[in-house]
């Protein structure tokens, strides 16, 4: 008994010492660090691979360059050299990409793979916790079914990374998560190492319809705005309570530890800049209102999603450094999606804002290159001079930036993760197919080798006990 008591006293002391020492560090540390521990850490480890070089390719770097007859050299899962005429030792494995095109692995900033999995049945509707208009406490990753057969299909479309978001039924729908498109038995095994979480927010028709029907707030757009602001006001108080608690540690008037609140943990991490806001929002007016709310409470919107009217406010998006993640051409399914123009992404890009083509669809994610081809061609038909080297950024480096992983992937540059696609044609041709897809330097999909085409648990033996689904 005594021994235990002593031990626990020692432990307490130790905790206090650690607490004090961390408190005595610069104030910045405390503000930047999350107030709470980070559970569910990534357990993803790249598959070890030998060095290789892709040669004689037309390379779109994702940084605005197109290189002819170029090579990409990969070592220990990282891109080491991209360019023409460099020496690679003869024992290094070579992929001849003569006549083929090479791009960074594609990134979808808006996916529901795993949370609205295929087959779509009653039990796979896991993306919207529509029991409260603010559910910042839910995390999309806890809904992810890692065996969604849509994931290997997206890989065959060249997608190496995707952000899984909660749906748009709520004002604040919860945390999104960024995944590597790899086989794993846990979602942690897919989590992109070091990627920040996102917070899904939604404007407009969806939340007001969902809750209006339940005869509760919000039932109008003004109700939506009151709902966001009320949530941020609560978050501000919670942040202040924790800040005051930390400041009091070690002082004479030590405060009681505030009671943890999962919902507010997430919102405070947004205010502290650790979680990026991804905001479903169609209309020009609503986007500008959301920007004002972000300024009111001091958080940053990384991207407006769907943003059918982004072209009306492209200059503001450029100034505010907010991406517009749009479809090439979806429209008309709702009133707020009525003012569609085919040139939306191109007009955003032309205003020097960050344009992204997203899918929001388990089919669209397989054809991000085709969707981008349409969006690029629409701009060019109206006089712009967009080239593949420009438009590829809409599905590589720009989504990487919006997700907050641009230091790690999204371009073919030295020391980036070797997330690479070899395409049979110009990726914006209808005939283009991803032939080989590498993730962190490991060959994860090979169109020419059925042994290198991943099969989900679901696919196994479901149509033929001795075979796979495809």
């Amino acid at each position: 008994m005594t021994r235990t008591k002593t031990l626990s006293k020692q432990l307490l002391l130790l905790i206090l010492v650690v607490g004090v020492s961390s408190c005595s560090q610069e104030k910045k540390d405390k503000e930047d660090a999350s107030t709470q521990p980070q559970p569910f850490p990534s357990t993803y480890r790249p598959i070890l691979s030998d060095s290789f070089v892709i040669e004689h390719a037309t390379v779109l770097t994702g940084t605005g360059k197109q290189l002819e007859d170029a090579s990409v050299f990969v070592e220990k899962g990282k891109i080491k050299l991209v360019g023409q005429n460099f020496y690679v030792a003869p024992e290094i494995k070579r992929y001849d990409a003569n006549g083929k095109w090479v791009t960074p692995g594609l990134i979808d900033v808006h996916s529901h793979l795993g949370v609205y999995a295929s087959p779509s049945i009653e039990s796979t509707q896991d993306g919207n916790e529509m029991t409260n208009p603010v559910t910042a406490e839910v995390w999309a990753e806890h809904s992810v079914w890692t065996q969604d057969p849509g994931m290997p299909l997206a890989l065959a479309g060249g997608v190496t990374t995707f952000q899984v978001l909660p749906g748009s039924g709520n004002l604040i729908g919860g945390r999104g998560v960024t995944l590597k498109n790899v086989f794993a038995r846990s979602v942690q095994g897919m989590k992109f190492p070091g990627a920040p979480h996102s917070l899904k927010m939604a404007c407009g028709e969806n939340p007001k319809r969902v809750y209006g029907k339940k005869n509760r707030a919000p039932s109008t757009r003004m109700g939506n705005v009151a709902g966001y602001r009320a949530a941020w006001i609560k978050a501000e108080k919670y942040r202040n309570d924790w800040d005051k608690y930390y400041e009091s540690l070690g002082s004479e008037k030590e405060k009681d530890k505030p009671k943890r609140d999962l919902q507010l943990d997430t919102l405070v991490d947004v205010l502290r800049g650790n979680i990026l806001v991804h905001n479903h929002c169609y209309r020009a007016e609503e986007m500008l209102v959301m920007i004002d709310i972000a300024n009111e409470f001091g958080y940053k919107i990384a991207a407006f999603h769907h943003a059918v009217e982004a072209y009306k406010v492209a200059d503001v998006l450029a100034k505010e450094n907010i991406c517009a993640a749009v479809w090439a051409d979806w429209w008309g399914f709702k009133h707020e999606a009525f003012d569609h123009v085919k040139e939306n992404a191109a007009m955003v890009d032309n205003a020097k804002a960050c344009a992204i083509i997203h899918s929001d669809s388990a089919i669209g994610i397989q054809h991000l290159n085709q969707e981008t081809a349409k969006a690029m061609a629409a701009g060019n038909k109206n006089g712009l001079k967009l080239e593949p080297k420009d438009a590829i950024a809409w599905i590589t480096s720009n989504p990487a930036k919006a997700i907050g992983i641009e230091e790690k992937t999204g371009t073919l540059e030295e020391n980036k993760m070797a997330d690479i696609v070899i395409w049979s044609h110009n990726p914006f041709s209808i005939y283009a197919k991803a032939e080989k897809v590498f993730i962190d330097g490991a060959l994860m999909y090979d169109r020419d080798d059925p042994g290198k085409q991943p099969v989900s648990d679901f696919d196994l033996g479901i149509t033929d006990p001795t075979g796979e689904r495809l």
């Binding site: 072209y311 009306k312 008309g332 399914f333 669809s361 349409k374 109206n382 209808i430 689904r469």
Partner: protein, 434 residues
Amino acid sequence: MKKIFSYCCRSCAKMLILTVGLLHSLISNAEDFLIKNAIVHTATKQGVLNETDIYVSDGFIMQVGKNIQLDGKHTLIDAKGKHVTPGLINASTQLGLVEIGAALSTVDHSTKNTMQGASFSVASAINFRSTLIPQNRINGLTRAIVRPSGGTSIFQGQGSVIALLSDQQGLISEHSAQYANYGIAGANISGGSRASAYLVLDKALDEANYLRHNRSEYKIGYDWKFSQSVQDLDALKGVLEKKVPLVISVHRSNDILQMIKLAKKHSVRLILAGASEAWMVADEIAREKIPVIMDPILNLPSFESLSIRLDAAAILNEAGVKLVFTGIDWQSTHNGYLVRQSAGNAAAYGMPAEDALKAMTINTAEVFGIKNYGQIAVGMEADIVVWDGDPLELTSNADVVLIKGINQAMVSRATRLRDRYWDLDNIQMKAFTR
């Protein structure tokens, strides 16, 4: 033969003009066109013709060939390096029946009226002033099959054929097909099992046949004892007389075989729609000469389409099945023109490109009985699209769209919005930008 026929048509048209007295309005629209030096995708056995001219007069294609010389007044369309196809058809849309999906006051494609299943006919509801029609038209879609959806009966009702014109002249054929559901959608409406759905369909066709032969016995005021309303059974008459095809949405390969069996029993012209697993029974479908409506880009499994795959169109085509395309699935109405993307994916996954083109032109015209349509050939109606590149490439766009020989303005509500916001200076003055 075709040439003679076309001239006949031309004179018929002229007689009609004189008789009806619309001389002024029609002549002012229907110019003569000479399209020069195009790469012509004919959708005929001739395939692709290079450096070819097309002469259009009175709404019909009068000549196709090299170096056509004309004396009379005509508009020249220089198509050097450009591609020409017949105007595209989407085989499954709700054009004119919906403006905004979630705004129910703009939606007419289904009914909750339990008396109206097979008798529900969409033609009277089609809004030719819909903004969807110009948006699709300027992107190369010139005809569409407009079909009902949903409802409370296993029969969804009757669909129409339209030309993408913004007035009533767009109605080409009022009753072009009858629609029904099988598989899980049919089961859900029939009590919860495919077995129930089969019985409902079988019984309805039996009863319709009985009523057809004993119609005079049944008068208003009788106590009808049928499984469907009498107007619904009456509406199946055309199906039983093989005047109208029966389009059944069905996916699982076993379900497809059941529907083939049902169609044979009742001797109806079956068209399979959706048909995700049709490729697994391609030979049976080809043998029975049953057309298949599909969207080749779809490849997500459901529990009734576990074997859905991107090369299904190529497999069916190879087996000799007549394919007609729709797409893109969730936007096949607002963006019905994206049938071109779906067809392009069929081509990317092994279907010959010219066959993919046929599946959105001549095949569709034949399957739905659209006369003189769907090929660049003498005697065909002049629904023609000039593309600035390969028509299956998504980087290509339409430059010129002719419908019935009339040059369409390349303007839609979307292009108006684009032009208004193309530059963002002087926003307040946009109020006066028309």
